[in-house]
Amino acid sequence: MPFGSLAKPAVLCAVFLSCLSSAYAADPIKIGAIFGVTGPAAYLGAPEDRTARMVVDGINRSGGILGRQVQLIIKDSGASPEKAISFAKQLIEEDEVVAIIGPTTSGESMAIKDVCQKAGVPLVSCASAEAIVDPVAKYVFKVPQKDNYIVEWLYGTMNKLGISRIGVIASNTGFGNGGKAQLEKYASKYGISIAISEVYDSNATDLTALLAKVNAAGVQAVVNWSIEPAQSIVAKNMRQLKMSARLFQSHGFANIKYVQAAGEAAEGIIFPCGRLIVADELPDSNPQKKLLAKYNADYKALYNEEASTFGGHAYDALAILKAAIESAKSTEPDRIVHAIEGLKDFPGTAGTFNFSTTDHNGLLMDSIVMVTVKRGKFTLYRGD
């Protein structure tokens, strides 16, 4: 029995908690998930939701974790921080989950950071803002690359291309404003001047007026920072306006559906993101390659659509929890946290994770690659 080797305090704990039923070996391990399956972040939340279901089914078919089945309890927050808070409380107090994965967006993650920290329930966030893990909270982790890495990659590429005067447009959301702030913060370090910086409505359906204004400011490149379908509209509108400026996007563009929606206008867009969407171009020696290929194939077989980096975040969150619970041989929160902090060279979809007590993201700059669109497909950007 997997519980045979448990330490004395945990046994005592198990006996004490037995009336709550969660300590029986045969009982499932409950993991909560908060995703914006519908609403404005559905393009992220829905693939996360599908991935999480797929991964948990896979874990359960191959015997579960520590011999126990995993019960995934998914809540659809609609990307609302208020709902995320009430779902987090519900998952912790009523469902008594072992850990929570998600939420999808940075705003929601910041909203429940304190809730999970106070309750002592591990949270593995699927959102990108650096603030989620800086300052570090003992029980809070995140799996996507930090947004400042994305900015530094963008600026580094611009330096190589001789671009120094840019326009920044961002959707008026937590993600957009966060990215805009990082772009403004790092601009001078790379000798980039931001000639114009604007926010647009996240539901925007036509941005020709805004882009005409950006164009009039005389910029060499436009950086668009959003997760919404507006990413495709910006691409189309720029071509319709015959703008000569080059279009860069954030990692929010890493969804092939946006390329399809933009059609020909997507050609040549450059953006930084994880390796998932260019997995087949990686050398066989890359530690992520096998895992990425398998995830892409499994996801496509099950849901008949291309995997996106966002679904990958849910995959990473679950994989990290599984590894941590197995190495801790326990579902006790402090031991899970300790085990996550001990994970080294752990390959995931977003990169190779190296967690520590001071780094609850575990990813470095090298987890990012520059990607471009060629003939309607994502491909590694290797310069012009």
């Binding site: 007026a209 009039a216 071509r239 929606a261």
Partner: protein, 296 residues
């Protein structure tokens, strides 16, 4: 500001204006026939775009659009016959609330049917990257289609209401329901037809803008709010005023980005709308006489 830039803003305003006007006309037709505000109007535009994008894979584009308009028309009729007719007897306000419920129902059904992903239609002429040059400004050739469709809708409706027996009967119903039924017109049938036409117009608008704006299951609510704003701005019930108000609002939104961030353009338009409604509660071209005809 250079002339080219002014023209560029003008063209953007024209696109916004045409979209809003088409949705607002749909509001007006139903308002005239029933005195209710149909908040599911935006959902018709969504359905049009979504159905056309699905059919475009197997049919030629024009046939896909025609089929989408026809199918959405039928769903408009179905919505009225199945749901709203039963509620209508209990009063105008209840019916309006019922349309809000219906809009949620249609939206959720669309989410189940098509998923959350964004869809688009091929450009009617040219591609995503085609651009027309005009006096220093550039725009997509799809703008011709959007403006053309709006003009066609206006002309078609004017002819329908002025020259056809059915159009005249609908106007009769709207002016005096009891009088019209004494003349042998079936008001219930007129309401059903109004829903059919209104849904069809919404669907056509949804199709012509889809290549530019893209479409997904949740665009309806936003369109309904804008369309209603425009209908109220012009004066409820007056379709000509809706086009004028739509263009005015479109221009306002487009030119407001010169001074205000794009994210806050709705604030600008809503402030103007409120100011106008304080000064002239019946809207730009609405009249008190027209407003009192409705049994509010």
């Amino acid at each position: 500001m250079p002339l080219e830039l002014v023209l560029q803003y003008f063209l953007s305003g024209l696109i916004y204006g045409c979209i809003y006007a088409a949705v607002a006309i749909g509001f007006n037709i139903i308002y005239n026939a029933t005195a209710i505000i149909n908040f599911a109007q935006g959902e018709f535009a969504m359905l049009g775009g979504m159905i056309a994008s699905t059919l475009a894979g197997i049919l030629p584009l024009w046939l896909a659009v025609a089929a989408a308009v026809a199918l959405t028309s039928i769903s408009g009729v179905a919505v009225e016959r199945v749901f709203l007719r039963r509620v209508a007897r209990s009063g105008v306000l209840n019916t309006i609330v019922a349309t809000i419920g219906l809009s949620m129902l249609i939206r959720e059904a669309a989410l189940l049917a098509w998923g959350e992903s964004v869809r688009t239609l091929p450009f009617f002429s040219g591609t995503e990257v085609s651009s027309v040059y005009f006096l220093g400004a550039h725009f997509s050739p799809q703008v011709y289609w959007v403006a053309g469709a709006t003009a066609l809708i206006m002309a078609g409706l004017t002819a329908f209401f002025k020259f056809t027996l059915m159009g005249k009967a609908m106007r009769g119903c709207s002016a005096n329901r009891d009088g019209a039924s004494l003349c042998g017109i079936d008001p219930d049938r007129m309401v059903t037809i109004a829903f059919g036409i209104s849904a069809g117009i919404g669907a056509l608008a949804g199709c012509v803008v889809a290549p530019l704006t893209q479409t997904h299951y949740a665009i309806g609510a936003e369109l309904a709010i804008k369309g209603f704003t425009v209908a109220a701005f012009g004066g409820l019930g007056n379709s000509f005023a809706a086009v004028l108000a739509g263009l005015a609002l479109g221009m306002l939104e487009s030119f407001s980005t010169v001074v205000v961030p794009e994210a806050y353009k709705d604030v600008v338009t809503l402030c103007v709308l409120l100011a106008l409604l304080f000064a002239k509660p019946t809207g730009l071209l609405g009249s008190r006489a027209a407003a009192t005809l409705k049994e509010y």
